[in-house]
Assembly symmetry: C2
Homo-oligomer: 433 residues x 2
């Protein structure tokens, strides 16, 4: 992802990049102006835009499918999985429309009073949720992200610049057209939701360096994309990095609960960031419980990478390396390590984990507290599946991703996390001594 505008040495490269930089500048300035209007729009106006956008998606179904067919026709060499993510169907368009309506039904986060207190001198201080401003969303070729991200940013009162993968460019433009229609019908500026005006990769670089024009970058995609964004960005990033998650079966775990929770945590969906990648099991119960856990998962099609202590119990398990224990499989593969109690489990997680989501299964409340206070993960669970790390499951209604950094927001990012705050102070003429 070179950024010729900032690093190029030839006149030609600089000329291209100047044009791209000017495009970014024009796009972002239009977004900022729209954001000022959107920030002051009330809930009814924003909801009207979302509902009208949903109607437009349904009304323009044929045109969207045609744009999608053109995208697919232009990309013959894709893998089956990539084609599947890229492909739209009437059912998927209906799901997008329903998604927009669901966001309309959520409460407005803007203006929510987060805290309120009065000082001894009579000053009344309120901390109030406020839109972030302009959000840059960089994602891969999933057309539905266009509708999801537009809806969440719009409801949170922020303008958004969407830069999706080039393979889905026509589909995304058709979907964005429906959102623009919704904005117009509500009397809001359609520049509040914009597509990148070029697929030139230099535009991504320009977005990442647009401090002062773009307030936040959200990357959504594979590790390569997220890593590049984090390395290049001059704008704050809400990154969604890897989920190397552990489920720890404590000595005092209920065996049936342990089996049900682990099978769900690993195999419900293996490709989501909340999936468990490593099983830690206490040595006191491993001999009796591990065979059943492994049999359950094997029946579901799971493969294994086991440490020596696990292989002493089940010698047929393939041997796991250090590299395996740091691998986010996102697949039907489970690392297994046997540990001696909570402290060893915590040490393993601190060494190999990614501070995303980790769970303990135990009937011992003290052990659970020790575990939950001992991990640094964004989400810690006691007696529940790691796959609950999800904005919908948290009750946020919708999410734009899972944040894995430590600043601003951690875990599922919904409307509340897409806002910032400000203070409103009411006085009666107070001056400071």
């Amino acid at each position: 992802m070179p950024v010729p505008g900032f690093t190029g040495k030839t006149g030609i490269v600089n000329a291209i990049s100047d044009a791209v930089t000017q495009m970014l500048d024009a796009t972002a300035r239009a977004a900022r102006a729209a954001a000022v209007q959107l920030a002051r729009a009330g809930r009814p106006t924003k909801d009207r835009a979302l509902i009208a956008a949903a109607a437009a998606l349904r009304a323009r179904q044929e045109a969207i499918l045609a744009a999608n067919a053109a995208d697919l026709a232009d990309a013959p060499g894709l893998t089956a999985a990539f084609r599947d993510r890229l492909t739209l169907t009437p059912a998927r368009i209906e799901a997008m429309a329903e998604g927009l309506e669901q966001v309309a039904a959520l409460p407005d986060p803007v203006g929510h009073v987060l805290a309120e207190w009065t000082r001894p001198n009579g000053l009344q201080i309120r901390r109030v949720a406020q839109p972030l401003g302009v959000i840059g969303m960089i994602f891969e070729s999933r057309p539905n992200v266009t509708a999801d991200a537009a809806a969440l940013c719009l409801k949170a009162g922020s303008a958004v610049i969407l830069r999706g993968g080039s393979e889905s460019a026509r589909s995304a433009a058709a979907i964005r057209g429906c959102v623009a229609q919704g904005l117009r019908e509500a009397g809001l500026p359609e520049e509040a939701v914009q597509m990148a005006p070029t697929q030139d990769r230099a535009f991504v670089g320009a977005m990442l360096r647009a401090a002062g024009l773009i307030d936040l970058i959200i990357p959504r995609g594979g590790k390569g994309l997220v890593t590049r964004v984090m390395e290049e960005a001059r704008v704050p990033v809400l990154a969604h990095a890897e989920g190397l998650n552990h489920t720890y079966i404590h000595a005092a775990a209920d065996p049936a609960m342990a089996r049900a929770v682990l099978a769900n945590a690993k195999m419900r969906r293996t490709g989501v960031c909340g999936a468990t990648e490593t099983l830690l099991i206490d040595s006191a119960v491993a001999p009796s419980l591990l065979p059943a856990l492994v049999a359950d998962l094997r029946a579901l099609g799971c493969d294994f990478r086991a440490d020596d202590r696990a292989r002493a119990i089940l010698p047929e398990l393939p041997a796991g390396t250090e590299a395996d224990f740091t691998t986010e499989w996102l697949d039907a593969v489970l690392n297994i390590a046997v540990v001696d109690g909570v402290q060893q489990a915590l040490a393993h997680i601190r060494r190999f984990g990614s501070e995303h989501t980790d769970a303990i299964v135990t009937a011992d409340e003290a052990a659970a507290a020790q575990f939950l206070n001992g991990i640094d993960s964004a989400v810690g669970l006691w007696n529940a599946s790691t796959q609950f790390c999800d904005g919908g499951e948290f009750g946020f209604g919708a999410e734009i991703g899972i944040a894995t950094g430590r600043l601003h927001a951690r875990g599922p990012v919904g409307l509340e996390q897409l806002c910032t705050y400000r203070y409103q102070v009411h006085g009666t003429g107070q001056v400071r001594p």
Copy 2:
């Protein structure tokens, strides 16, 4: 602030930088290990460290003054203001010690339950405040920042790497020695509060690029320092940039309140970031009120830069340029512009302001609401001085700075804002459908 380790081309520069990078690596890894212990330390342990550090400051007063004298002797060419900031006295050391004790008296932010709810499936979700991890503090030659920053980070459960200006290196090391003594007496690792092991500027560059080792950089100093940090950092930054603040005297302002608030907002202390730099006054009251406002301030030693409409009322006022209206004077100079109502005031602030702190003086509640909802500033005040933008005045007990970005925290940054959060989820064996 060149970073030879990353940009240098000669072998010698790379060798120096490798050594500096290794120093950073060792410092930051020791800080991370200490942070794990500090994060789990209870309030009594942390408070014991703070109180013991205060005692050490008092006990070692002579040694600290000697170190400070050596710093001053080595820096003969400094301005009087710089020497004053650098100079320690018994009273200033006592103030630092009391500051540590005040932080000890504040509630522990760590573990505070920020939100709590139960899902329909019975999952109990809690959002709990948690330490950030390792904080890098980059500041200029104010020795007291060493004690202030160490105390706040320690109480917030985070380790800190302090990199102060080279002119105050001996003073800062002596103060840090007292904090280390406090940590030891409380049984905490002294690596929780470290000084940069070198004054090589490459170390600052290494700190700024230490993503994964340092969780947050806080720069505290002039515009040049903050701008450099924001441009170079790969680690999230909580920046304290400029405060180009406005006090807007609305047509319905009480004249006596307007005079008292403006005089305080501009002249209480002119060098603080909450000081007012520009007066906006409604055209309806400018002819009657502006002469008194100007006379008040002139009597306090203030100079002026006025627009044409203000000079039509008071022709002796010096003419202000566009550049003046974008200048954060931090001095006894006030820009003056006459406006026609709230909308024009908002347009002026949007064009020239820095989204830091802005105030309206009015008896008209609707006008106040329009103003407070119309600005994007971190702090908006109604009928109060802009100089109230301060952690102590907000009731935070102490502050590490004023954040001017939009992510994570805005306005005064106290203990609460120095924390992040995580989720703790209690289940009874739930699996995700």
